[in-house]
């Protein structure tokens, strides 16, 4: 029956990135019409969709003096702005200048100007993310020495000026972070999740436990901003994640009362974080429990370290990639169970080499669904 069932047809397209070294991150802009790539070759490249499914390189420049780890786009309300972070201990803000609306074919390469260089970190800056736009123009960085820094551009017209608003030491190496995209400021205060890739040595565990308020072996921490104290505080530590974390991503909220956080660690995890009502929040010893956390899914299918987790726009599909060289798509069913719906894999046998890349390769044929004799008669 398997082969008679219709399958989806996927189309793939290969782009020669032409980075001289490994690509570390690929980020789409708000509309999914532009794509930025960054690499160990210290370059950042920007690609524009040509409207027919093709991608055209429109900018390429040396952005840092070290491997560029991550690239991220600001909301288009603030213009065409990207931020990058690097092994060279800096994060940078870039703005595209010139007429971005003109269909760029006649323009050739576009110019991106470095508007600001954030040099506060003393170690490699491992991740950078713009905040949700309703909070203004915010940027958060994290670094290998475990300091989270939150910057703000008070005047969005002036991207050269960024003030360091908060500096949060975590005492563990931080590899990734994610903003909670929830729009409702009333219900959910600004929230960040950070993941640590600190290896599990006794030493590290001790140092974490040294932090008395949050004695916890977890690798994922939740920080929330308190309007009253004007501070970011660690409000939770997910004890369910004990292995080093490579990537972390909040799902779009869709008006739910809880948050979904995907974590790439030794497996793919989806964690439900449900805020507990204030009245019920105070536990023993005066310590408050802010959330009820529940691992709703843990998938071991990669059989190896998972590198990336990424939600689709509506948070209905999660893509994960791992050391097994496969990308898996996970989907939530209507009964709130998660299930793998597709796996994308390399050819396992190196012997029979598939045809060389063509611009468009349709490689999954659709099986006919029913007996061909069931065709209409007239």
């Amino acid at each position: 029956m398997g082969e008679l069932t219709a399958t989806n047809l996927f189309e793939s397209q290969t782009i020669l990135a032409d980075h001289k070294d490994l690509i570390h991150d690929v980020a789409y802009d708000f509309y999914g019409e532009r794509m930025a790539t960054c690499s160990s070759d210290q370059y950042v490249k920007v690609w524009d969709s040509d409207g027919n499914g093709g991608w055209r390189l429109t900018a390429s420049w040396k952005a840092h003096h070290g491997s560029v780890w991550k690239v991220t786009w600001a909301h288009p309300e603030f213009g065409q702005v990207i931020a990058t972070c690097s092994f060279d201990r800096t994060a940078a803000i870039w703005e595209e200048v010139g007429d971005t609306a003109a269909s760029g074919s006649e323009k050739g390469l576009r110019t991106w100007l470095k508007r600001s260089n954030l040099v506060d970190s003393r170690t490699s800056v491992t991740d950078v993310k713009f905040g949700p736009k309703h909070l203004g123009l915010l940027l958060v960085t994290c670094s290998a020495d475990g300091i989270i820094r939150i910057y703000e551009a008070p005047d969005v017209m002036n991207l050269a000026q960024w003030t360091l608003q908060h500096e949060i030491p975590t005492k563990v190496s931080i590899s990734c972070l994610s903003w909670n995209p929830s729009l409702s400021r009333v219900v959910h205060p600004p929230m960040l999740a950070v993941g640590s890739d600190e290896p599990n040595t006794t030493n590290a565990a001790a140092s974490v436990q040294g932090d008395k308020t949050t004695a916890c072996n977890g690798k994922v921490f939740i920080y929330e901003y308190s309007e009253s104290s004007r501070r970011w505080t660690r409000t939770d530590c997910l004890s369910s994640v004990q292995e080093p974390v490579n990537d972390i991503a909040f799902a779009p909220n869709l008006g739910r009362s809880f948050h979904l956080l995907a974590v790439a660690t030794k497996d793919v995890r989806i964690i439900k974080i449900e805020p507990i009502a204030e009245s019920a929040a105070s536990g023993n010893n005066g310590a408050t429990v802010r959330f009820k956390c529940e691992v709703v899914a843990a998938f071991e299918e990669h059989y190896s370290c998972v590198w990336r987790v990424c939600w689709n726009l509506t948070g209905t599909l999660l893509a994960s990639s791992g050391d097994d060289c496969a990308v898996r798509l996970w989907k939530m069913q209507y009964l709130n169970q998660w299930k793998c719906v597709a796996v994308f894999k390399n050819e396992p046998v190196p012997g029979d080499s598939p045809p060389q890349s063509r611009p468009h390769t349709t490689y999954i044929r659709m099986a006919t669904m029913a007996n061909p004799t069931h065709m209409p008669f007239h």
Partner: protein, 651 residues
């Protein structure tokens, strides 16, 4: 992606949905890979390594792979289907709303037929196109035809079993109609033979197959007419069979007899047939014997003809007719099992769907139809109509009713899918909007991210957003348009969008840009807009200042110098002008100071002088001196004139 939305272990345990594995075309990913989602169903896979200190030299690891789902519904020829079914879907939602207060089954049936006729029209178009097409194109069209043909077939059966209002639930006439309509075997031969009306038609190679076919399809009259065309049609054997066929009792709800009475006469008739058969009078005519066996509902007879048909659906009608003509519509499971069991090999997907349908296992049916590669069109619309008809009840393992959740999830999926299309997105939006609250939240996310390539598209998005009261989206689109105009240096356009979006931050940004533009090019953008903006001017201080300044220009141009001067002084003294604009503002006083009639009072002049001294840094020396001179002269003139005035007043 609608690969499958089910995770329920089915009763037959045959649907273990293993995730489909797709092999990537290039061998570009040897080590680790990363992935990033684009919009909709597009995502990128890229090679990746996190090893910090190693510098791999393998530059072959350098290809990005964009993966996107190919969506059948986006084929141009299917556009009509998508659009028209949307109309019917929306009518159905209205009908369902009305059905809450009164029974609306007739309306539902009408809409179900409407859906089917949409599919039929679509099939006709596909057939037309397939006749013209060639090669791969033709193959594709033919596979679409197969898909939509099966959809129509199942929908029809579903309509009979669940949506139609059948008197007494006696399903046989409807079932026969369904079989005849979708599996019109031998029909043409029969028509041909009857048309020719020649004796000795048995010479036609398909003669007997056709007669048996007609019997199996329940067309007893046609079968009898065909038998008369046999050269031995007048013989006793033929008359005997003809008699049996003629005298077969036909059950009808309106026949005025109860099922019990009917059963008696039916049994009697069968016994008669049996005695005829056992008398061996038909021994010389094996075909006639076969017919007699068939009408007596003999299993082995049916089994023997099964191989002549491509599927068991063909004989289903006959089987029900000759074994249990009083079957109600939910009693067809056994008949389906019997017919399907006649030939165990080669089960198709359509088989499974029809089986499940006849057994009344709608859950299984929906599960199966989700496997059809129509991107969920069928599953969504069928589930929706069954849900509204109240015929669908799906329980989870805790016996809670999750039917509406299933329906919602299908509609949401389908709506989101359509929103990815560059012109079908508003159709998708209507599906999402019919599924609040989550539908609207999803719509918000997607709508905001619709690529805006033209102003018209932006206006369209805003109009749609306002239609569904997604004000936040409308404003966000305006702000993004504003930012885009700003970065392109079009302050006028930016102002226009900022004011349309009623955004104070954006309008202040745009106003700054307009003022800055004026300081460089001495042209105020969007003057007409600013002079007619009304209350929108209050969005921000800068915008207000810009508006007033624009008004000053208007007064100056119409030579109302006194009013212009007053306005200018109020602008100077209110001190809301941005820093970079002071130079312009102060220099604007120059021509007014030099006018023939003094237009500034001495007090005004003092104020300007004060501002000039406070902000001497904003003017360079020569210009400042020039201004000072003009101010001094004006002060002298006005002081003299005012002095006269006061003296006169004093006297």
């Amino acid at each position: 992606m609608n690969t499958s939305s089910f995770a329920v272990d089915s009763s037959r345990g045959k649907t273990v949905d293993a995730a489909k594995t797709f092999v990537l075309p290039d061998k570009c990913f040897q080590k680790h890979v990363g992935c990033a989602w684009g919009r909709g169903n597009k995502f990128t896979i890229y090679p990746r390594s996190q090893t910090v200190n190693k510098t791999p030299t393998d530059t072959a690891d350098n290809k990005l792979l964009n993966i996107k789902q190919d969506i059948l519904l986006f084929t141009p020829i299917l556009r009509k289907l998508v659009n028209e079914s949307n109309g019917t879907y929306l009518s159905l939602q209205k009908a369902a709303e009305a059905a809450k207060v009164s029974d609306n089954q007739v309306e539902f049936l009408k809409l179900s037929r409407q859906f089917r006729s949409i599919i039929r029209v679509c099939l006709e178009n596909l057939q037309e196109a397939a006749a013209k097409a060639e090669g791969i194109e033709k193959n594709n069209l033919l596979s679409y035809i197969t898909i939509f043909y099966s959809i129509e077939c199942i929908w029809h059966l579903c309509e009979i079993l669940y949506i139609d209002n059948i008197p007494g639930d006696i399903v046989l006439p409807y079932l026969l109609e369904w079989v005849r309509f979708h599996f019109p075997c031998h029909e043409q031969t029969a028509a041909q033979l009857l048309g020719a009306c020649e004796r000795g038609s048995e010479d036609h190679e398909d003669y007997w197959d056709t007669v048996v076919g007609m019997v199996v399809q329940g067309r007893v009259d046609v079968a009898r007419a065909l038998l008369k065309l046999h050269s031995a049609g007048e013989s006793n054997e033929f008359k005997l069979v003809d008699n049996s066929l003629r005298s077969m009792p036909v059950y009808s709800v309106y026949g005025g007899i109860s099922t019990g009475e009917f059963t008696i006469s039916w049994k009697h008739w069968q016994a008669e047939c049996r005695s005829k058969l056992s008398s061996r009078v038909l021994a010389s005519q094996p075909k006639l014997e076969l017919i007699m066996k068939i009408i007596m509902g003999d299993y082995s007879a049916f089994e023997s003809i099964r191989s002549k048909y491509s599927s068991w659906f063909d004989i289903l009608g006959g089987w029900v007719m000759f074994t249990a003509p009083w079957s109600r519509r939910h009693e067809l499971g056994a008949a389906a099992a019997a017919c399907a069991g006649m030939q165990a090999t080669g089960r198709s997907h359509l088989d499974d769907m029809v089986r499940a349908l006849l057994e009344g296992d709608l859950h299984q049916v929906i599960h199966e139809i989700q496997q059809i590669s129509d991107n969920g069109w069928f599953a969504t619309h069928l589930t929706d109509i069954l849900f509204h008809c109240g015929k669908l009840t799906i329980m989870d393992k805790h016996q809670t009713n999750v039917t509406s959740r299933l329906r919602d999830s299908l509609i949401l999926e389908y709506g989101c899918l359509l929103m990815e299309h560059k012109s079908l997105w508003s159709v998708g939006l209507s599906y999402l909007a019919s599924c609040p609250p989550e539908g609207l939240r999803r719509a918000e996310l997607i709508l905001e991210r619709m690529p805006v390539d033209t102003e018209a598209k932006a206006m369209k998005i805003i109009a749609e957003a306002k239609k569904y009261e997604l004000i936040g989206v409308a404003q966000s689109v305006c702000r993004c348009m504003c930012a885009r105009h700003l970065s392109a240096g079009r302050a006028g356009g930016a102002l226009c969008w900022a004011m349309r979006g009623r955004s104070s931050a954006a309008s202040s940004r745009a106003a700054h840009a307009a003022l800055a533009h004026y300081t460089q090019h001495a042209v105020l953008p969007a003057q007409d807009l600013l002079l007619t903006a009304g209350s929108a001017m209050l969005l921000s201080d800068t915008l207000l200042f810009l508006g007033k300044y624009c008004d000053f220009h208007r007064l100056y141009k119409t030579r109302e110098f006194k009013k212009a001067a007053q306005l200018l002084v109020s602008l100077i003294t209110s001190k809301i002008a941005p820093e970079y604009f002071w130079e312009t503002l102060l220099l604007d006083t120059l021509p007014l100071l030099e006018s023939d009639e003094p237009v500034f009072t001495s007090n005004d002049t003092y104020e300007i002088m004060l501002c000039l001294e406070l902000r001497s840094s904003s003017l360079d020396g020569e210009k400042a001196d020039l201004l000072r001179l003009a101010l001094a002269r004006n002060l002298a003139r006005t002081a003299l004139a005012e002095g006269d005035g006061t003296e006169e007043g004093a006297q």
